[in-house]
Subunit: 188 residues, 2 copies
């Protein structure tokens, strides 16, 4: 039996990604975001929704670029911290000891310690309501060499990305392998 | 040491959601999508990117509505099947024995057997490239009563959503609890 729980942002799972930008003064900044996802294959793009009040919003507007930094579960505390404080008041890299590195293809910094990085340039933006969505074309992907698996792609079980549960506000790890996409459904 | 692997849609994790629509003839259809995510809190919205060649794209254009059906890991084979075949040729509900139910708030069907349902009406659309993105305002959320936890919200560990690894094309379950968001970072 289904029960209506009203109109709210309850949909599982969402990613937990960290968005890297330079602000107006050139300071490297990061924030954690879960209203994010891949949104196009050709060109390869991600969508990132942010409140206009964030320091990251200002940074993206000015530089028209951002990085997506995929954390591992071992980074979960620092990832939560990146979502708790504002880059308007705090240098989050200095506060955590993580190292900002300038992207090769876009005007944004990435987090050296995180395993998987996407360099993105803004190609669309749309005001939805409380959040504005930026669509960034992926100009390059970088991964820690030790995490590369078959076909030269990052092994998700080595990356150990963080999974988020909206509204219930819980972080989870990646669970057991269930099967291969575009394959296991052929049995039906 | 980081290695560049080029511009591609590699970013972990993404959701695995099933999109429900009526087609031009009123037939209930479903497709699996991973280029999806929450994109706004107020109004509560999700973004869904689809290729224009899909039957679902046509259905959304005509009805300006869709459902998001969050599957459990036990549904992984049928979810993969929903992404393998086109509703242009196949009645996917009939083929799998799952039951379509008309949404209460929008002109779309949902999958009765899936644990968590979002009823969405289209408020924006944007052509990105191979994919078009529809932004749907969440008009209602429905959850199986047995899965509701504290505060009346669905317990993610009971829902058991599926997690996807783009490019490597693997399905995974939800992993272990890592901590509470907007909380564990305060220790830093």
């Amino acid at each position: 039996m289904k029960r209506s729980i009203g109109a709210q942002t309850v949909a599982y799972p969402t990613p937990v990604w960290v968005v890297g930008t330079y602000d107006g003064k050139g300071k490297a900044n990061v924030m954690t975001a879960a209203w994010v996802g891949i949104c196009s294959s050709k060109p390869p793009c991600v969508a990132v929704s942010l409140r206009q009040a964030t320091h990251t919003y200002e940074g993206i507007l000015k530089r028209q670029a951002f990085s997506i930094n995929v954390p591992s579960e071992s980074h979960v505390k620092v990832v939560d911290y990146f979502g708790l404080v504002s880059g308007k008041r705090v240098d989050k890299f200095a506060a955590t000891g993580l190292k900002p590195v300038r992207c090769d293809f876009v005007d944004a910094p990435y987090v050296a310690e995180f395993p998987l990085i996407l360099e993105c340039r803004v190609i669309h933006s749309i005001e939805i309501g409380l959040h504005s969505q930026f669509i960034g074309e992926i100009m390059d992907v970088k991964a820690d060499e030790a995490l590369l698996g078959e076909k030269g792609l990052p092994d998700i079980e080595k990356v150990k990305p963080i999974v988020f549960g909206p509204e219930i506000l819980t972080y989870h790890g990646l669970g057991k392998y269930l099967g291969q996409a575009f394959s296991i459904g052929k049995e039906l």
